[in-house]
Symmetry: C2
Subunit: 342 residues, 2 copies
């Protein structure tokens, strides 16, 4: 271990990350069931070296808990709406326990009828979508998840925030421990990255944002005063709008703009809905499931043949390493978490 590493990081096992998160979250007032669900998500992020969805989020979770807007102990209410539809009302608590409680019924329905939807309503949401997608692929179903956020992103041709950073995640079950999985924001860049450029006085690339007149800008400050943009121009903007509609009005829940209005400056996590679709290849694919699985594996092999990597490979490599050797948390973050006093 380098001197730099020794001085600047704290080594923790993956189990210790989980215990730390549970201690802080329950200390801040979250019920044990909710705390464990949130801690599982934070631990997965830290383990996979997705620092922005790891322990880094813990102080923000405490802020959300303390905002008074969120329920710290609501039991998710699961409704079996139809052979293809499950609804989980999170009761203004975090989304993660609602997902965990409803996922078995979602999988059962998808296995039985081919495609099924899980609607999560009234949930505070801050977590990456890939842990949920991976959980579903482990049950043998393909899955697609989406959620709005806060309205920081302008539509193509616009100049003001209207769309969320609206992540989309998809997974496909594979033999072996790791599925095909991606999880990306439909904004061109994370909002935090924009702020870091502003603080450092660094220009941003074209395509990240527009100024308050809707003109392209390379000034992070001007873009923060104007709006962020989606990735991929008008196509990314259309996709982000689809997510607003499908994980908003379609499921009886808030758009990103409504979620931001609900927050009203409290800087809690966005509160809205989430949509998760599950697909059973064994039923949708007809007579020969093995041929279909092989067909997918041939596609993945062709990526490797031409030197292209599948999404999430870096994460899977980090995971393997973390499970063996533990993780190294920046000392400044660790100290900040300890200073919360829980």
């Amino acid at each position: 271990m380098s001197v730099f590493g020794d001085a600047e990081t704290v080594s923790l096992s993956v189990g210790e990350v989980f215990d730390l998160a549970v201690r802080v979250l329950t200390g801040a007032g979250l019920s044990l069931d909710h705390a464990q669900a949130v801690a599982r998500a934070l631990t997965a992020g830290e383990r996979d070296e997705c620092a922005s969805h790891g322990l880094y989020r813990l102080p923000g979770c405490v802020m959300t808990i303390k905002s008074g807007k969120m329920s710290v102990d609501a039991e998710p209410v699961i409704e079996d709406v139809s052979p293809a539809l499950v609804r989980a009302d999170a009761g203004y608590a975090y989304s993660l326990l609602a997902f965990e409680r409803a996922a078995p019924l979602l999988v059962e329905k998808a296995k039985k009828v081919g495609v099924a939807a899980l609607v999560i309503n009234n949930c505070f949401h801050f977590s990456a979508l890939w842990p949920e997608i991976e959980h579903l692929t482990q049950q043998g179903v393909a899955a697609l998840a989406m959620t709005p956020s806060h309205s920081w992103v302008a539509p193509a041709g616009g100049k003001r925030g209207l769309l969320g950073t609206n992540p989309l995640a998809f997974g496909w079950p594979r033999p072996g421990p790791n599925p095909y999985v991606f999880d990306f924001a439909t904004s061109a860049i994370a909002r935090g990255d924009m702020s870091l450029h502003d603080i450092a006085g660094k220009p941003i690339p074209e395509g990240w944002g527009v100024d308050s007149e809707g003109q392209p800008t390379t000034s992070a400050r001007a873009a923060l005063d104007g709006a962020m943009l989606t990735f991929g121009g008008h196509k990314g903007s259309a996709l982000s709008t689809m997510i607003e509609l499908m994980a908003g009005p379609l499921i009886g829940d808030l758009t990103s703009r409504e979620s931001m209005a609900f927050d009203d400056g409290a800087k809690a996590a966005p509160m809205h809905g989430e949509l998760i679709l599950a697909f059973n290849p064994d039923l949708m694919g007809g007579a020969n499931p093995q041929a279909n699985a092989d067909r997918a594996e041939a596609l993945f092999a062709a990526f490797a043949d031409q030197g292209a990597r599948l999404p999430s490979q870096r994460r899977f490599e980090a995971r393997e390493c973390s499970l063996k050797h533990g993780v190294r948390v920046p000392k400044v973050l660790f100290d900040q978490i300890e200073a919360l006093g829980y």
Copy 2:
């Protein structure tokens, strides 16, 4: 009407476009039911001034019919698989009749259980997806459709064609005649546009393609010898891969690479599957459908408020004009169609 316009175009009513298409398609050997389904799609494209999906496609349709690979009269076989799943086996004919025959059952299922899927297998596919999406939104459901194509597009970090141009289309029902609808290829640009640049000796923008070494290129020739790229970098590449999986192995049908191998140089339309999902907002949205519809309309109004246009507006304007005044078909295309001799 300008002299240029008089000299270079032929004026037809929308009904005449349909009749012309039916005459040529049946003349080339397609059964009347299939010819009318294909003609409806071509007429919609011509009417909406989507020239690339209008009568322009008719000579290619004739080439596909004459290739001997396609069935000219297969009756689609509709299977009611589950409360949420319909399968339509197109029997190696065009996809469009299979869609028309299966759509009512898809809508019925979505209305009843909230979300439903239509799998179309073994179909030759050349058409835009938005006519199908618009048909579904007219029945009050939201819809998402996707299909592979031929493997002209390299994944992010790759250098050879593997993915298709893989279009994605989505629609949301609205009050009034026109839904929210988009339909885009996940390739950075249409393959035809790349060829036009090559013929004209014009450089292509960065991001359209890579050369055969996988290096970015502004030479259309080098990109045609190498591969096209997806829109939106690694995110677009991931989305395109999702479409390969969902409209390929998930539904027991070919990937873009397999479809290209099936074609084996015949230059017929791609033959593979198509996946269409339908969502019932009245069931998925919970207790207050009108509030959800209003919430979507408020989102659309906020586009207009900041000067951003919704997708497909140009198409809807062209439609209104065409229905009143007819369409103007380039004379060179009209002559080419007449020269087919049907």
